[in-house]
Symmetry: C2
Subunit: 525 residues, 2 copies
């Protein structure tokens, strides 16, 4: 009889059910991690209930409903209790009475609870949270109550999701420094063209650290009831280190970070070394949210810190690809690759830096009688096409760089399911700097692949290539490769304030984009 009482009486429910399944035919409730700044709710010790300090916080939470359909009162001594296992309870907070006991309101009623996640999926947390509700039956004064019926709801915490270059830009972030006024103006013009918003991080906050790309990565979390952007703060911690927490975290703008444990943070921990591809299908397996791309050492060397790698892999919905980037002095994947939207094929192209393509441009200039035209025209470092082509050391260095990029090209083709036709090689030369143990590469002239992509507007580092009939041969070549895709190329002078400090336009900017229309819980995993 008590069983029947329980079954008829109680139903603990949320959007989903007592289990969780991925995919379009899946089911299950979804939870957001409360990582935005309204979440500093008041914990009053003498209160029976966790208080929710601001109404807007409610939007972030998932509703859980206890539906009852029974007598006006529970039979004498019966009780409802809610139970969350100890390991689970570290990852979730339910706004409910402080005791385990849950009030029974009687008749046909619905009691609402609000649930929020406290941690993102990580190496030791698969993102699943189970909340149990039991009806306890009294067994006389000498015995504890026994459970006669238990219902449960399983939630999955939303993963942190990155946004590829093919998604619409919303806000563009750059630093203002004492030497980048004209660069800022160029970016402002570009941002106006694409209709998004420019956000400038001023010097009192950036303290001269201009590498906006490297300190943070924008992503978002999503649920059927709410979605908002979340910034991942890099363990890099340059002079920009306070910016994500102080200036980006806010109402409906979440924040998450990972700190390196007993590991040295290296240049590979900067988030110029963390990118994401547009949606791809690889051997029949689809990645509708794209795949995360990071750079690591080939066998040994500098690496992205393990806690960040663990975090990225644990999100599951954008399975990461590890490229080899330690061959570069700075060591970021955005120094040799990016993605641009395209109207055809896979709806994007992969752009790769290519010394071979670079030499082709220079040789063609020489063959056409422009051997005396100068790279960096009018600048102290000016050097003729002939001189560049006769530099055997530079050739050897670029053969080495081409080898390194070719290996990454193979990995990208395989892991993203790309054909050669999906890839465009941009003419970029590198040079190799002698480091103590390991010679490593930097761009010889502004690294055009390190561009900012804002819809069909591309902000490309101005290469200062040799001029033919008053126009830069490198710009002409790049335009001829990209304009047929409907892309508009704007070349931005970043030579002094960025290139000479070993970065370019992409390194010096960051873009908040609209979330993907694809819902992560519809993934087949």
């Amino acid at each position: 009889k008590t069983e029947a009482l329980g079954d008829a009486l109680l139903h603990l429910t949320a959007v989903g059910t007592g289990s969780w399944k991925w995919g379009p035919n899946g089911h299950g409730a979804i939870l957001l991690v409360n990582c935005d700044s309204e979440s500093t709710y008041k914990k009053t010790l003498d209160s029976e209930v966790d208080e929710i300090s601001k109404v807007s916080d409610l939007q972030d939470m998932s509703k859980m409903i206890l539906r009852t359909n029974g007598p006006a009162e529970l039979p004498e001594g019966y009780k409802l209790t809610m139970h969350i296992s100890q390991t689970t309870s570290e990852n979730v907070r339910v706004f409910r009475p402080r005791t385990n006991e849950v009030p029974y309101l009687g008749g046909k009623t619905e009691l609402e609870f609000f649930v929020e996640g406290l941690h993102f999926p990580d190496k030791d947390f698969d993102g699943l949270i189970t909340i149990n509700l039991s009806l306890l039956e009294p067994c006389g004064k000498d015995f504890p109550e026994t459970p006669v019926f238990t219902d449960k709801v399983v939630f999955h915490v939303s993963p942190w999701i990155m946004t590829p270059n093919t998604l619409k830009p919303v806000e563009v972030y750059v630093c203002s420094t004492n030497d980048n006024y004209s660069f800022l103006k160029s970016i402002k013009n570009l941002v106006e063209k694409c209709g998004s918003k420019l956000k400038i991080c001023h010097e009192y906050m950036n303290r001269g650290d201009r590498w906006m790309q490297d300190e943070l990565e924008f992503g978002y979390i999503d649920s059927p009831h709410h979605q908002f952007p979340v910034v991942l703060d890099s363990p890099r911690d340059g002079d920009l280190q306070d910016f994500p927490y102080e200036s980006i975290l806010g109402p409906d703008f979440g924040y998450v970070t990972r700190h390196a444990l007993n590991e040295e943070v290296s240049s590979l921990d900067s988030f110029g070394n963390l990118e994401v591809s547009p949606p791809v299908t690889v051997n029949g397996k689809s990645y509708p949210l794209g795949r995360i791309i990071i750079g690591v050492a080939a066998t040994r060397g500098r690496n992205m810190t393990q806690v960040v790698q663990d975090f990225l892999w644990a999100q599951k919905v954008q399975e990461p690809i590890a490229l080899y980037s330690d061959w570069l002095v700075v060591g970021h994947v955005d120094e040799f690759m990016t993605f641009v939207p395209a109207p055809d094929r896979k709806k994007f192209r992969l752009l790769l830096a290519s010394p071979d393509a670079g030499y082709k441009v220079f040789k063609s200039l020489q063959n056409n009688g422009h051997g005396k035209a100068e790279m960096f025209p009018g600048l102290p470092e000016a050097i003729s096409v002939n001189e560049i082509l006769s530099d055997k050391k530079l050739q050897a260095e670029n053969r080495y760089v081409q080898n390194c990029i070719d290996w990454n090209r193979d990995v990208l083709k395989k892991e993203l399911g790309l054909d050669d036709e999906d890839i465009i090689d941009l003419p970029i030369l590198f040079k190799v700097l002698e480091e103590k143990t390991h010679p490593r590469a930097v761009a010889y002239y502004p690294d055009m692949v390190n561009m900012i992509v804002l819809g069909d507007q591309l902000g490309i580092p101005k290469p200062f290539g040799p001029k033919v009939k008053g126009r830069c041969a490198l710009e002409i070549e790049v335009c001829s490769l990209l304009e047929p895709l409907g892309l508009k190329c704007t070349f931005i002078d970043d030579l002094a304030p960025y290139h000479k400090l070993l970065g370019e336009v992409h390194c010096g900017s960051n873009v908040l984009r609209e979330p993907s229309p694809f819902k992560w819980w519809n993934l087949e995993l």
Copy 2:
């Protein structure tokens, strides 16, 4: 060209391929954790290669083959290297040259490597291990080599797998103590009947600790090339604590344990509280290796230690079910449930202790004029059927116990997909002991569900029930329930050496069984 050289030349292979997929249409290589005792290989620092101390160790390892089909020698300066990521490398050992460099033997050759796992899947290790092989190309004396081709093999470490009562017994383990001679003799007779082997743990080793069930759990690991049993050593650590390591670990008998971290070990950590169901299908989802069953607290109370729970869940192939066992003084699931083989339906029955069924037997005795027949006949604690039935306190206690068991019955029906016809209720009464904070239950007379199951032979605690025409009414009832399934009931007197110390036949024994014929890697996960 170098790419072609790599592709043509190299193929790193094992049983599987460069990725891993569960299921009958899956693929991938498999690794065993080297947890048996031959594995104390000699690590000689001055040697270039990890030496394998005993030939038999080779059987435990997975072969990985580097197939080459190329020129007699690699072109000048080319190199092969093997790379395992740092986190992965904690979990695997490849017997290979100590340097990363791998010899190129030339022509059409195969180079064999032997690989062994070092850790079982756990909370922070999903069991997957990737080994990469790269062909490095020289880039002149001033540059490091660059990878031109990389192949990889992905291994999955075998999970630790438990064996249900329906699998064939191989060896039966019991302790010899100074007071259990006749019990031992009964077990010996039973073991002889079913053709398995009796292993006695002598007193110098058990130091009086007779609870063979509680100190360890037998399981196995499996791969296409080899399988062997592995004992899981409980953190219980009674006086039997050295037995698993000292006496069971051996060549082709592995050992694994987990130590509680900052947690008190409780009685729920004994492995009488760790069982496994026969194969089941639940709502269309099949568990061909069965499901692990453990006992925990309902809401708060004693619990199985987290590290052991984490280990069990991480094995994945026998997804655990948590029952409520904290209502018992000893707190083990084997005090109220077991499984026996059956010829029909799901090929097994779930047996549950049932106070209701117990009272039914006693009332029927009274109704049939046997009210004066005595429980524990001829013993000092003898008590008549009438006296038992008139004890209101005992009735209340058994109502409480029945409630606790009923809740578990519901969970088992739901999680194992059972109907009422799959369950047999055995007539067992309990009594409740007053403990400081919590009244908890023990069996009132020998707890028949705590039996040893050896094929169709059941060794059941002798209940010392009231006699009718010289035969025990409880034994008659149990035989009438089980014999129609083709099972043979032997009632074993465990009253003094086990029952009075709060355990029974199952608690005092352990059974090593044959592995399941089902291969874990064919599971759809």
